[in-house]
Symmetry: C2
Subunit: 153 residues, 2 copies
């Protein structure tokens, strides 16, 4: 996200997170930066459902990453975004490890000038050179996009 030219080196700091088990099952609290700690857990019988499953957190990480890229690109195109919502759905493998074989991200944008082609262009750039979370799952997860524009013009 930091630079416009993907061939230029970017100054980036390492990122860190800490996690602590807080019960006798799998309730783990994670934290990074100075932000609110996040409860994570698993569904019974492994956990007690006291927090986000790691794969749910992954969907939010992926969604926020793509959203940040797409919004930045659309704004560089001088587009006006009134509302930007996303729904992200992951289909898990039925054999271990039960990772996502497919993720479908729906982009719901209210605007007077954004077109589906604009969003598609931003998504192509995001996938190719901007969104780091997308880059880390490349070749392992099939990502599909649904674009819904609510035109207020």
């Amino acid at each position: 996200m930091e630079a416009k030219n993907s061939t230029q080196p970017v100054a980036v700091l390492p990122l860190e997170a800490s996690l602590s088990l807080v019960n006798s099952k799998l309730h783990i609290i994670g934290q990074a930066g100075n932000f609110e700690p996040i409860d994570t857990d698993y569904i019974p019988p492994y956990g007690d459902g006291m927090g986000y499953m790691p794969l749910q957190l992954f969907l939010i990480s992926f969604g926020a990453c793509v959203a940040g890229s797409v919004l930045t690109i659309l704004r560089r195109m001088k587009k006006n975004i009134e509302v930007f919502d996303m729904n992200v759905r992951g289909i898990r493998r039925t054999e271990h490890p039960t990772s996502f074989s497919e993720i479908t991200a729906e982009y719901i944008i209210t605007s007077n000038d954004v077109t589906e082609a604009d969003v598609q262009k931003a998504l192509t750039l995001s996938e190719q050179s901007i969104c780091p979370v997308w880059a880390m799952i490349k070749g392992n997860v099939d990502v599909k996009s649904i674009i819904t524009i609510k035109n207020t013009d």
Copy 2:
């Protein structure tokens, strides 16, 4: 996490998350299940640092996933875990996309019977067949482990 035999099909539901942009920069609130919404954002100038960067959330997702796998395996080995903490650090590429080229996860375990070899065995199983977040970044991110045992025996 659901089955002991990685060749057996596992009943898994799709997972979903929703995200909404809440300001004119990149402050996005994400949510899944019935859990507390999570603030995400970017550092200035793109965002205002009002929440987790997507890559920080990714580290928590990855850490909680590996922790869940490792704890489950150690408990199946009848090991006694008194304290389980993790520090996860990601080194980002200096060209776009600035994804993690390397993640180092440190496992700090207080126990009277867990050995470094036990944890290494659990990590090998987690990587090979249990932890879905690890599976999704395979081939794209180099994962290193540091094991620290505090023996209370």
